[in-house]
Symmetry: D2
Subunit: 134 residues, 4 copies
């Protein structure tokens, strides 16, 4: 349950210091974890269309070294923990082998009204299958 | 039907060139036109809650001189034309008297499914009242 | 002097209406035109490192139909006109063959101080070469 | 060394779920801490102009309850710790008395080349003055 995503830093995502603005790491993490899901044949869009919404409850990022315009970042994403209603991911961002950032997020599964609910069965099954295969 | 909004340029909105990234002008225009509406005692949020959505169909911006981090921009917004289903706004952005940008947008009123519909009656009435008052 | 870029709509780029927020089209156009340059073996980063900055002076967008989360958009970008100091691009955005938006931008070449200057000679040469090849 | 900033959630900052997208909290924190500085008669822009750059090395956010379009959020910001080269801030975000989020950031002072350096003396003095006044 680990995947890799590559993202090239856009001009609009840099700031006056010439660096990737730190808020965009959260956007990249989001893309990375949906790519990980997609790699398992699932899409987050389908989850939402079926009434399962993943909301973020916690995020931590340690910034190690700057990323710059046009850098191609590699984000290695791992599902570090799942419970029936929560998923934790860990992220490692690098650029040409240099560590750029590390992060962790916790997502909770809610319904359309924002009430906590169990993750869909097919999602839990796919996780169990991935675990037994590894 | 003219109003003024002041917006201070955020760090995250600048880019590597040290300037306000041009995509953010569209975000500022959006804030400016909702502020104009608010000044008439209406909110765009209420419109959406009642099932009236304003989608943008056209935008034009001329960039005159750069805006920088921490600049306080003044956006003068005017409703330049209304029809039963469309609203056109014109924007003039300045900083300490210096012209920064000019823009125009056209919004169309649609329902939740994206189908064109007439603007709400209370909205049309308020516009007529504003016109006769001016 | 036409190229194609594919961009998948990120969650963070959608808005409350469930659509790609219109300001992001300008970010996509920027990515599309730098990809076009890259396809010719040039990078905009190199241009800036050599002291040539392209600032936007004009943009127009017509929004035809909405783009949504996870849509993969195709942006066809064309250099529609060049002068010694300016470049005009035209953009056509589509999703599975459906027209989503059309846009035009004008960029001006300036130096580090923001003063208008001629585009670098190697850039002008590469454009001339591309024209004679087509 | 505590201050309050109010920020109204922009349309462009919401996402498909109808909520303030979580990446924007980092942008709001940044605005909040520069407002805090401004309240002491200092600006971050001046710091940068004098060659002192504050880069973020760590961020943590706990999301308590959602913020929505047009909500006016109150961000209470506190300098929780300073060293000669680092500043830690704590943030408490609320909306009409309801807790929305809590966060912490650590900033490091670097020079133009990204090398760690002591915070400017006038900055350290102002902090000492603020501490003795409280």
């Amino acid at each position: 349950m680990t995947g890799e995503t590559q993202i090239r830093v856009r001009y609009a995502e840099t700031d006056r210091m010439g660096l990737l603005h730190h808020a965009n790491y959260l956007v990249y993490f989001e893309q990375a974890r949906t790519d990980l899901l997609r790699g398992q044949g699932l899409t987050y869009k389908d989850m939402e269309d079926q009434g399962f919404f993943l909301v973020i409850t916690n995020v931590e990022v340690k910034f190690k070294s700057p990323a710059r315009y046009d850098d191609v970042l590699t984000i290695r994403t791992t599902v570090s923990r799942t419970t029936p209603v929560r998923i934790e991911h860990a992220y490692h961002v690098s650029c040409d082998g240099r560590a750029v950032a590390e992060g962790k997020t916790t997502l909770a599964c809610v319904d359309r009204a924002g009430k906590l609910q169990a993750l869909p069965q097919w999602f839990q099954d796919s996780r169990a299958a991935a675990r037994s295969a590894s």
